[in-house]
């Protein structure tokens, strides 16, 4: 809502406060002023000029040489506008004048001809192009004949004005009108509100004699009022009206349309003007549309209607989409002589539906959607009659044609002062409350210590006691509220075990050298199931904004890998990211199974200490080490099983198992996937974090520090390449029994000193007895068992 302060002063005394100060007061009381716009900013020395003559420039087709009377002299000005002509009154920026954007007008020569200034368009005065009347959109603006030559354009045409741009919340529909804003400002400044005085001459003939009305849908349209005005002259509106509309962000058209828009801004009541003759039937019938009925609206679009949409008809065919947009056939044109002015109350649900179905939103529909004031419908129609009489020389027929079943009663809200004070934590005196309600112009009675408030119908947001609490508090001043803390039981706060462990996981991942990433949950249909641990049907949005963000992810990895690519494409070759986030799996239930996962993606060098010759590229085992460390941290047992998954390297993929259940996957991206994403070796991992974190870990009890030494024996084994170290380790552990405390791989050799198809793996075995110092013989006895078990599975000792 754009509020011209000059216009506002018609209704309320603004105490000549500077605009900034007024804006600040309005903001602090509850309606945010988003901007304070000085309409004359950067303008000076701009006067009314009279074009005495206008001739083509001899050197330039598109330029005219004009002799312009600017009051104290007649100056030659070169003008490039196509619509310039002798006899016009125009806006002249004289030498020394300033225009918005810091432009300064100087005496100049254009193709050899002197120009003493510039003839201006409205755009050049800083008015947005879309607000300039169509006739002047492509050229200079022509002032009305009565404009006084040499007079100051800025002051004479109301450009010395400031506009407040209000950011309205949906509850304050009352402030979508100048009168509503006047009531608000009046309450803040403790000033009275002056309503427009309405009086006009009426013809003897009655409106009812020319127009009949029938309302077939009283629920959607409980009040319909029409005025008939004849013998009107459709023409340009006077300057003051055009300026007010432009200040309010509305483009002027002609006096009839401008009057309806003016009253929309003034009262917040949408009006519509029909060409009476174009209606053709002398009848208006409001009803629900018939199936497949059609109407061409003012925007020249043919629209097909459906049965729940409310339409205005001429008794035969639709002539307007009620409250949303008029029809093209009954539009007021230059040749219109008689108009029907409609002022109606349409139910907000009906308008919302129609407006949504046709994707049409107008100043009118948005006001109806939020609810208009039932008590302003008829005054607005009267106001229109008055202005058409004054500005279009119209003859207003006596009375109105009215259908009225609308409840216009004021709502009563009763509230106790104690309630107000206890909600606020304040001690506002009763008298003070009464005074605030008076400033708001809410009729209030004090009965049995209670406030009995009649809420004006313009304030439909005031329904319950709490609404009154807010009204009192905001006008009393939020700064007056003291700062206290809740007097609740002192219970300790904290994280749940799950939340605490999730933080531990994150700290661990970061300690391990990974950066935490955050990616989007919405993805493309193609990526939705890539790398999914558990694949389900995809979950699609009903109305996605793009294909890229149309489906919920089932794995964190596609976007995480994309983030890795993003970095490598910018020459950051070493990237290690992790993410904690939910994946979304379809279930039989209405809601999805949202599983919290942990993912990792890394590429490039893991360790880079070049000058000491240490360079360790990222590989499978770097990531595996991180997972193993995590399992240790969480006290869970994870196992790795060779596996296969689309887009992962078939020989370098493992499933991560917990209690025989698959809880994760890790591996290297498939070379073709790497190529497609323009990546070098990239390792990824994803774990069902929720599964890991929901394992209850045992209480931590210390094991005594060993009192006896342990003994190590190393063995190097020659194995077939297809035999996995893990299998051999299991054989060793099983054979080693209780005394074998630890088994560790310390070397792997696959070179040409071995037979084809063989590899050598060296293990270090640690024997230990917590009760005593082991003797060599005791160790040898067990170690022999291990060696024979190894021989049985075909592992040879390497000599």
């Amino acid at each position: 809502m754009l509020v011209s302060i000059k216009w506002l002063k018609d209704y309320v005394n603004t105490q000549d406060l500077p605009a900034d100060e007024l804006g600040e007061k309005i903001t602090r009381a509850g309606i945010e002023v988003d901007a304070v716009i000085d309409r004359s900013e950067g303008l000076s020395n701009i006067v009314v000029g009279y074009v005495e003559s206008c001739e083509k420039h001899p050197q330039a087709d598109k330029l005219s040489i004009c002799q312009v009377n600017v009051g104290d002299e007649t100056d030659q000005i070169i003008c490039g506008a196509p619509n310039i002509a002798a006899g016009q009154k125009v806006i002249v920026a004289r030498p020394g004048a300033r225009l918005p954007g810091g432009m300064k007008i100087k005496k100049a020569k254009l193709r050899g001809e002197v120009s003493n200034g510039m003839i201006c368009s409205l755009q050049e005065l800083g008015i947005e192009g879309k607000l300039v009347p169509k006739a002047y959109a492509e050229g200079i603006y022509v002032l009305p004949e009565e404009a006084e030559i040499g007079s100051d354009v800025i002051t004479n045409f109301d450009l010395d004005d400031t506009v407040l741009e209000l950011g309205l919340t949906p509850n304050r529909a009352d402030a979508m009108s100048m009168l509503g804003v006047a009531y608000e400002v009046g309450a803040i400044l403790e000033e009275e509100v002056k309503l427009p005085e309405i009086s006009y001459p009426e013809a003897e003939q009655t409106a009812e004699s020319m127009l009949t009305l029938q309302v077939d849908a009283p629920e959607a349209n409980p009040l319909y009022a029409a005025k008939v005005v004849r013998n009107i002259k459709v023409k340009e509106s006077p300057m003051w009206l055009q300026q007010r509309l432009m200040a309010a962000g509305v483009r002027p058209h002609n006096n009839v349309v401008d009057v309806t828009n003016y009253i929309l801004m003034e009262y917040g009541q949408p009006l519509h003007a029909f060409d009476y003759d174009a209606l053709g039937t002398g009848n208006i019938t409001v009803r629900l549309a018939k199936k497949n009925e059609k109407i061409t609206t003012l925007d020249d679009t043919e629209r097909t209607l459906s049965p729940h949409q409310l339409v205005i008809t001429n008794g035969e065919v639709p002539v307007a989409l009620a409250g949303v947009m008029g029809g093209a056939d009954s539009e007021v044109s230059d040749s219109t002589t008689t108009v029907v002015i409609e002022s109606a109350y349409f139910a907000s649900s009906s308008i919302r539906e129609t407006s949504k179905n046709h994707g049409l939103r107008s100043d009118a529909s948005s006001r109806y959607e939020k609810g208009v004031d039932p008590n302003r419908v008829i005054p607005a129609a009267e106001r229109a009659a008055q202005l058409l009489s004054e500005l279009a020389d119209g003859e207003v027929l006596a009375g109105s044609v009215i259908f009225d079943e609308l409840d216009k009663e004021e709502k009563i809200v009763t509230v106790s002062p104690d309630f107000i004070n206890s909600r606020l934590g304040m001690k506002i005196p009763f008298e003070e409350m009464l005074d605030i309600l008076k400033r708001l112009q809410f009729n209030t009675e004090a009965a049995n210590g209670q406030l009995v408030i009649s809420v004006p119908t313009r304030r439909q947001d005031i329904q319950i006691e709490e609404d009154v609490v807010e009204e009192i508090a905001r006008l009393y001043g939020y700064d007056e509220i003291p700062a206290t803390l809740p007097e609740t039981e002192a219970a300790p706060g904290g994280l749940t075990p799950y939340q605490a462990k999730r933080r531990i996981v994150r700290n661990y991942m970061e300690g391990a050298g990974l950066l935490q990433a955050t990616t989007y949950s919405l993805t493309s249909e193609k990526s939705a199931t890539q790398f999914a641990l558990t694949e389900t049907d995809v979950t699609k949005l009903l109305m996605p904004m793009s294909e890229e963000r149309s489906v919920l992810r089932q794995s964190l990895l596609p976007h995480l890998v994309e983030s890795v690519s993003y970095n490598t494409a910018r020459r950051m070759d070493s990237v290690a990211l992790y993410e904690v986030g939910s994946v979304f799996l379809k279930t039989d239930d209405e809601l999805l199974n949202e599983e919290e996962h942990l993912a990792l993606a890394m590429t490039g060098l893991w360790l880079d200490n070049s000058w000491q010759g240490e360079k360790k590229p990222v590989d499978f085992f770097v990531a595996k080490g991180i997972v193993e460390g995590l399992a240790e941290k969480l006290g869970v047992q994870l196992e790795f099983e060779r596996g296969e998954m689309n887009d992962l390297h078939p020989g370098r993929t493992a499933f991560i198992m917990m209690d025989g259940r698959r809880v994760g996957v890790m591996g290297q991206l498939h070379p073709s996937e790497q190529k497609q994403r323009d990546l070098k070796t990239t390792i990824v991992m994803e774990l069902n974090l929720a599964a890991l974190l929901s394992v209850e870990t045992e209480a931590l009890v210390y094991t005594p520090v060993p009192r006896y030494p342990s003994i190590s024996r190393d063995i190097a084994l020659v194995l077939s390449k297809i035999v996995e170290a893990g299998t051999i380790e299991t054989v060793i552990r099983n054979a080693g029994g209780k005394l074998l405390k630890d088994v560790r791989v310390f070397d792997l050799y696959e070179g040409d000193k071995l037979e084809e198809g063989k590899k050598s793996v060296a293990f270090s075995l640690t024997y230990f007895d917590p009760e005593k110092t082991l003797t060599d013989e005791e160790v040898t006895a067990v170690h022999e068992k291990v060696l024979s078990a190894l021989t049985e599975v075909g592992a040879e000792l390497r000599s």
Binding site: R28, E466, E470, A483, R503
Partner: protein, 345 residues
């Protein structure tokens, strides 16, 4: 024999003096003082001397031996020190070369902000509540006093999956669920999480972002309690000198509703580009829980009251760290992420 002894001594002392390192000196020691050395030989040869000369000669040999030994030890000390110095000289390193890097990662800046807020409220006795990101229309809207067709639903255009299921547009449904679960008992919670709205991604909008909300319900919870709580929050997060101010606003789930501004932490209130010359920065929305919301969750709104507040960690991070584009939080450029590594206090 005495002459012989003196000559030997002179010779030994010369050799000691000439020894260039510990090894050479040890050779001298062995050569002159060792078991097979000339001094030992002389002592052994004493038996041939007349008995009366023996004590005198013996004393003389000992004196020579002492002298040679002392000289040798002194020389040894010098050479040892010299050897150590040479070793130290050889072992000089260029301490300006870089250290072996310790690889550390760090949290995402949004996590950093969220955790800081969580920890502050935990210290004031709050618990952390979480809930699903894909939510029922009922919890996302209806239970929060936003019935179907409510004009305020336009404020948050949403991603629907079916007519009744959508991606939550705020974390408030977690409040509704918690209230329902608590069955009328007092509540003190903080709800962080991801939320989604139908916005085109640009410098200030993101279709996915995070929110953190708080809810307190109890007997006689007042608006002054809200103001006091938010004041503690503002000072903790943005500095002890911060002032707060409340402005009336509108949210369907609170009444009265407010927006909270803090005094600008950059200019202190005199006006700058961060606060757009106003001296104040808008941080969050809040209010007293609407009685309809309490009643829908089974709370007696005559007996209990509450307050709620909500804010955007993105906005807070953007203000706190001077980040100009919200998309930085979701592109995961490591040159951005790795800046949030160090401590701030």
């Amino acid at each position: 024999m005495e002459e012989q002894l003196q000559a030997l001594k002179t010779e030994a002392l010369e050799k000691i003096e000439a020894a260039k390192d510990v090894k050479e000196l040890n050779n001298v020691r062995v050569a002159y003082l060792g078991k097979k050395g000339p001094i030992t030989d002389l002592l052994k040869g004493m038996g041939k001397l007349p008995a009366e000369e023996r004590p005198k000669m013996g004393a003389l040999v000992n004196v020579v031996r002492e002298e040679v030994t002392t000289n040798l030890e002194e020389r040894m000390a010098v050479l040892e020190e010299q050897a150590i110095n040479e070793k130290l000289q050889r072992e000089i390193i260029d301490i300006t070369l870089p250290g072996r890097p310790v690889k550390t990662g760090n949290s995402h800046p949004l996590t950093r902000v969220v955790e800081e807020i969580e920890d502050l409220f935990i210290s004031m006795g709050y618990e952390i509540a979480e809930g699903p990101e894909v939510e029922k229309d009922y919890y996302n809207f209806e239970a929060l006093n936003l019935p179907k067709g409510h004009p305020a639903r336009d404020m948050q255009d949403s991603f629907y999956i079916t007519e009744d299921i959508l991606l939550r547009t705020h974390t408030s449904p977690v409040q509704a669920r918690t209230m329902e679960a608590k069955g009328g008992e007092p509540i003190k919670i903080i709800c962080p999480g991801k939320v989604y709205r139908r916005d085109n991604d640009d410098a200030t909008h993101s279709h996915q972002f995070t929110q953190i909300e708080g809810l307190v319900i109890g007997e006689n919870i007042r608006m002054s309690d809200l103001k006091g709580t938010l004041s503690v929050f503002a000072k903790k997060l943005f500095g002890e000198e911060r002032e707060i101010r409340l402005r009336p606003s509108f949210f369907p789930f609170t009444e009265p509703s407010v927006e909270m501004d803090i005094s600008c932490f950059k200019c202190g209130g005199s006006g700058c580009n961060v606060c757009k010359k106003t001296g104040w920065i808008e941080i969050l929305g809040a209010g007293m829980v609407h009685p309809n919301v309490l009643e829908m969750a089974g709370y007696d709104s005559d007996r209990l009251s509450g307050f709620a507040f909500g804010m955007g960690p993105e906005r807070i991070a953007m203000l706190k760290y001077g980040v100009e584009d919200i998309r930085h939080f979701y592109t995961n450029d490591i040159r951005f992420l790795s800046q949030f590594n160090r401590t701030e206090v």
